[in-house]
Symmetry: C2
Subunit: 112 residues, 2 copies
Amino acid sequence: MLKYQPVDEVFKALGDPTRRDLVERLSGGPATVSQLARPLDMSLSAVVQHLTVLESCGVVRSEKVGRSRTCRLEPVGLRLAEDWFAGQRALWDRRLDRLGEVLAAATLEERK
Amino acid sequence: MLKYQPVDEVFKALGDPTRRDLVERLSGGPATVSQLARPLDMSLSAVVQHLTVLESCGVVRSEKVGRSRTCRLEPVGLRLAEDWFAGQRALWDRRLDRLGEVLAAATLEERK
């Protein structure tokens, strides 16, 4: 079995539409838990649970000021997952380049 | 609750280091199930299970020719998740642009 990696939790956290919605809204700027909960058709405690998942994998951080808790995106967490995609994209592009070279060589060979 | 979206399963599938390893190796080109299983320290049936998860969310497709099954990446599946990141990145960049404008305006105001 391959070893657990921190990015595992980021991907798992993003595999839920409510959590992606929270991330999308926090991309627009910080918000309090009650602001985040308002448009969602679920209990406040369910929203807090989703935010806890996002916080524990480093995608969100929160700070309590007085009686309200403000959440903001933590770019480091999302970057872990984004970087994985960038790595895959690079592998794909290299492979397409190689295919391009093979096709170009084949065309050249045909013309001879 | 927000509605289930196909990208949910893609993110969940990628939240496992073995499945990401399979995707990474398939980024280099198609491979048979036994080629994919060879370096992994797990049973062939465990590998097949991981590949089934990747196939059911549209990240991998496979084809049986004779006695061996060849797997290849299906770009559409991964693109769902990649596009979500691109959307987030765009939101972030717009927000940074706005912050830049606010800072520039504040600097201008200070100079007056």
